[in-house]
């Protein structure tokens, strides 16, 4: 799907992921008000709202957004696993792009601990699907990669250390290390699922994030800057290929990242070398390594060299996970995709402080949900 008219990011907001005890309702309201404040508009201007949660009870989303006001607009709950926030953003973008509304809001939130979600495989096992932890599937990607390409555990630890250290410059990141995190510290942390250690995996504290998108006409009318344009909004699901898994549907084929990115490049009219900032679904370090290659930052098998060359650091030629990514910033579920939009928007505006990339013109956000869906957005500085 392509956009028939221009859409701009009017405002973004988020609460710190994890961090001090705060109710999910407070996080939702704080992130939504932050986005409205960033846009400089009142909630009364919002014409439709997509509320994304991967874990909330069925009616929770429509109840909690009443805190913003009862203005009579369409409110739709969105759920697409880890990609929920990106799905809400995608729907908001296309609601504006298609001309149905001029101002749309996407908000995502989740509190995995409050829901009793334990991705470490707690509970009564009733079969293979819940016997094998989701993390095992990502780790089996890593073991396969090590066997095929000779990737080292140190390469995975280097990616994770980068993201931990990027998070040190993001006040909204869940992980706030007191001092620089070393590769050795990552390797020495608690084993999770070989070859991943605890510091190579995303934390899952609570969080909320929001974004408001707007048409050019409404931006002009409301005095909202049009300095960040949504130049691509793509959604895909799996295609069958040999080796496809139909059980344990947490991890789909990395091929979706390739397809999503190249569809987004076509829509935006740019190539991977023009991306100044990149956000991935990097819940585990192996994902980031594989996605380098899938979205075309380098050729097949060349991701390890990209890491060795420090090309994906903030000062490198392909800055990835500048806010800490899932590993550093955190991955509550519903808000994760919107936190990516928050980071890209801040970077493209030049508002990222000590983690600011040098003059990025375009940024890409990639996220998967349940291994079965993939959202890819490209934002462009204007």
């Amino acid at each position: 799907m392509t956009m028939s008219r221009e859409v701009f990011v009017a405002g973004v907001g988020m609460s710190r992921f994890g961090g001090p005890a705060q109710s999910i309702e407070e996080r939702i309201v704080a992130s939504g008000l932050a986005a409205l404040g960033d846009a400089g508009i009142a909630y009364a201007e919002v014409q439709t709202l997509y509320a994304g949660s991967a874990m909330a009870d069925p009616t929770f989303a429509v109840r909690v957004v009443k805190e913003f006001g009862l203005t009579g607009i369409p409110v739709v709950r969105v759920e697409n696993a880890s990609a929920t926030g990106a799905a809400a953003f995608y729907e908001a973008v296309h609601a504006v792009a298609g001309g149905r509304v001029d101002v749309a809001m996407a908000i995502g939130f989740d509190d995995p601990a409050a829901k009793g979600i334990d991705f470490n495989n707690a509970g009564k096992v009733s079969g293979i699907s819940d016997a094998i932890s989701p993390m095992a599937f990502f780790s089996m990607w890593a073991v396969r990669r090590m066997a095929e390409r000779g990737t080292s555990v140190e390469t995975l630890a280097t990616i994770a250390a980068k993201n931990w250290n990027n998070a040190r410059h993001n006040p909204f990141a869940e992980r706030q290390a007191d001092a620089e995190v070393t590769v050795e510290q990552v390797l020495a942390s608690r084993p999770l699922s070989y070859p991943h250690t605890a510091r190579m995996a995303a934390p899952q504290g609570a969080g909320a994030a929001a974004a408001i998108v707007i048409s050019r006409e409404a931006a002009h009318r409301l005095g909202v800057p049009t300095n960040v344009r949504v130049s691509a909004a793509q959604a895909h699901s799996e295609r069958y290929e040999p080796g496809h898994l139909f059980l344990g549907s947490i991890v789909g084929p990395p091929e979706m990242a390739h397809r999503g990115a190249y569809a987004a490049y076509d829509e935006a009219g740019i190539g991977p070398d023009e991306l100044g900032v990149i956000a991935f679904h990097d819940a585990y370090a192996i994902e980031e390594l594989l996605y380098y290659e899938e979205i075309g930052l380098c050729g097949p098998g060349e991701g390890d060299r990209l890491v060795a060359d420090r090309a994906t650091e903030i000062s490198g030629r392909h800055p990835v996970s500048t806010d800490g990514g899932f590993i550093g910033r955190g991955h509550p579920g519903g808000p994760s995709g919107l936190a990516q939009i928050w980071e890209l928007t801040q970077q493209l505006r030049g508002q990222s402080g000590s983690r600011q990339v040098r003059n990025p013109r375009s940024g890409l956000a990639h996220i998967i949900g349940a291994g079965s869906v993939c959202y890819t957005h490209i934002l462009e500085a204007r």
């Binding site: 495989n121 089996m140 073991v143 699922s193």
Partner: protein, 142 residues
């Protein structure tokens, strides 16, 4: 890791996906009437073409595509099984079969990517007189 129980008392915890009998483990799959490709677990329709499928028994042997060691104990109601962690594997079944996921019962030889394995039951919970078992693979050593 495997509890010593009589083979006659073992039953599959998910008989719609695999059956367990004294003769061994039978994986229940589907085969596309259009492409001939096989899938596991059983599908209602062919995921490639949307066409019809028919039920087939899949090979119970295969080759490890990848594996991992999960460093957490299983939780829940277990009468047998790993206490501090468990191996899992993705296995490409023989006879051009599908890739399946299961517990991997490691032996001293340490199965690796490319190792040959066969399906075996892993008993882990007793209900009445039955020992519920889950799908596992172990290396073929012969």
């Amino acid at each position: 890791m495997t509890a010593q129980v009589a083979a006659e008392s073992l039953v599959s915890i998910e008989p719609e996906k695999y059956l367990i009998s004294p003769a061994g483990v039978e994986l229940l799959g589907s085969q596309s009437d259009v492409t001939g490709n096989t899938f596991w677990p059983r599908r209602l329709r062919c995921p490639e073409t949307g066409g019809t499928v028919h039920p087939v028994s899949l090979a119970s042997t295969g080759t490890i595509w990848s594996w991992t060691l999960v460093s957490f104990p299983w939780s829940g109601e277990f009468s047998a099984g790993p206490e501090t962690g468990y191996y899992a594997a993705l296995v490409d079944l023989d006879k051009n079969g599908p890739r399946v996921v299961a517990v991997l019962l490691q032996t001293e030889s340490r199965a690796q990517v490319g190792s040959r394995v066969q399906a075996v039951p892993l008993p882990f919970r007793t209900v009445d007189d039955h020992v519920l078992s889950i799908l596992a693979f172990e290396e073929v050593t012969a």
